[in-house]
Symmetry: C2
Subunit: 320 residues, 2 copies
DNA sequence: ATAAAGTATGAAACGCGTTTCAGCGCAAGA
DNA sequence: TCTTGCGCTGAAACGCGTTTCATACTTTAT
């Protein structure tokens, strides 16, 4: 297949000129350009991008760190990122972590080793301090509130969003409220926990640990919640669930168990996934695609660090 | 940060020796090794992977071509691929096509330009002939039957699977059967079409074009099918739908419309997605994760081209 | 007519890790 | 004693595109 020097030889020009033709730089005479193009064609030449990357010191590849690929929450963000990346001719490498810190470290290593130009972290388990050490190697965008550590970020105010949910429930007469999260730790889960405690103390209810369901991300987890709820000695009358999938799982399991929604149990989900529309689940919309798009665009704001807050919105349907 | 030559200078050894230390090659004396390690540490040295890629002529990155990221069918395959890739220290670049041929061509270009070592095509719109031209640049694995063009592939026999579905429906007394597909064209859709025509002629029923719903991939599409079915002059009594999401959308919309399932309309989905379990949808299980894992492993079978057929399985639940 | 600006072109250096090959010293087998 | 062969090391070539700098010829502006 040959390289750029072979082309130069064949076309009787310098490699510089070949490079200019390849990159559409000006200042190449028509004849030389033609000769180069012919040589490229004759030798069926194609760039070796690894040489380009080495030479330029960048790859136009960004890494997206996400715990699970096959979960609509993350794949919605990913799709948003991909959409914008494509427009700017960036490629995407996915790094699935399963919340293993090792995997996050590997992602950072890829950045340091110049394999990636930037990193978007959709969710993490490694402390921000670890990330700080790698800032010098490329932009790192956080899809969570990371203001204090001075990272560019795109996030939803989960504290407020959760608060809105709680308010809606109390306005509908609920005082005994539980909730579910994906992990017990994590920025968003923590925000929800704080909001929960604060709100309950405001309405003078005691927060109950047994009404907090953690490790809930999927439909299956939602089903589990329904069954566990059913076994509870004292039952909350309302649940705010991790996301719409969990809500869907919980609601449909409740139907099977003969638990009336929202009669016996009110439910609020998060995301406004199409399943929430289908099942008429009251939910708090999270514009995840938008989040992804914004996250990518932060990368191009090469100099400044900035935070973007993404709006959420309560969508009242029939489960409260 | 310095490069390998700086390390060599500082440690007073040759670059070869540094390279040996970096790659854990034998035949380096303990003292030199130590000196190198110290130098690496002092200079805070880290490899530039782009140089490695250029030098080695490979990147350990594979490309996964998929029409949509945020669709469980494809993200299940992707997760399977990612799982296996991780074990072999391969990275994954995703190339979302939206079935645009241009995007598929770009993916092939990445392979040719040595940015990717191999390609896994989960679904395509570009003819196989185009792919054939790029075989010489790296392995290309097809997640569909591609025997005749001599590609390594992992696939489900959609003809048979569909046939099983049809058989199950007729055994349950149905003769007026319609179905849905994602696209009108495409290997799998075609297999279903052939199976449909052949089967109906066997049971001496005329296939009806108006009972074939195309462009159906999501829950929303399922809802549409329910509404369209309801408007039909003459209605099929059973539908085999693209996947479980479409089935779920259709079923839940039918509930709203007061259409009894399976009384008035029987439904079979594909995939055995957790939603099908939740909604008791009769479905044909497609082990997509397994498919992805096998697809990746085909890459490592560096020499031989082989086809792997993935099993499917009818799961009888309550919608037939 | 002369300085300034634009067009065109190429040599050489740069980015950087891997690998081949040659060579030397020393120990084991013939 | 002589031949293998293993352990260890480094010079140099290899993979290859980009970019800087110097140079020289045309035009255009003054």
């Amino acid at each position: 297949m040959g390289n750029i020097r072979d082309i130069a030889k064949l076309a009787k020009v310098s490699v510089t000129t070949v490079s200019r033709v390849l990159n559409n730089h000006p200042y190449v005479s028509a004849e030389k350009k033609e000769a180069v193009i012919k040589a490229i064609d004759d030798l069926n030449y194609h760039k070796n991008m690894n040489a380009v990357h080495l030479s330029k010191g960048k790859t136009n590849i960004i890494g997206v760190v996400l715990p699970f690929i096959n979960h609509p929450y993350f794949s919605s963000i990913l799709e948003g990122i991909a959409l914008e990346a494509q427009l700017q001719h960036y490629k995407i490498m996915i790094i699935q972590t399963n919340y293993k810190q090792e995997k996050e470290k590997e992602a950072l290593e890829l950045l340091r080793q110049k394999q990636l130009d930037a990193l978007i972290i959709t969710s993490r388990s490694l402390p921000l301090e670890n990330y700080s050490l790698f800032k010098e190697y490329g932009k790192i965008i956080m899809c969570m509130n990371a203001m204090d550590n001075d990272f560019s970020s795109v996030f939803i105010n989960h504290f407020e969003a959760f608060h809105i949910g709680l308010t809606h429930l109390t306005e509908s007469g609920h005082r005994k409220i539980g909730y579910a999260v994906g992990r017990r730790v994590g920025t968003n889960s923590h925000a929800r926990y704080i909001a929960y405690k604060e709100f309950l103390s405001q309405i003078e209810e005691k927060p109950r640990e047994e009404w907090i369901f953690s490790g809930c991300l999927t439909i299956e987890d939602g089903k589990r919640i329904a069954r566990e709820w059913n076994q509870l000695e004292e039952k909350p009358t309302a649940l705010i669930l991790t996301n719409d999938l969990v809500a869907a799982g919980c609601i449909l399991e409740c139907r099977k168990l003969g638990i009336s929604i929202p009669g016996e149990l009110a439910i609020i989900g998060f995301e406004n996934h199409e399943i929430s529309d289908l099942l008429d689940i009251t939910t708090i919309e999270l514009p995840l695609g938008l989040m992804g798009r914004n996250a990518f665009n932060q990368i191009l704001q090469s100099n400044k660090v900035q935070q973007i807050e993404i709006p959420y919105r309560l969508i009242k349907r029939k489960t409260v």
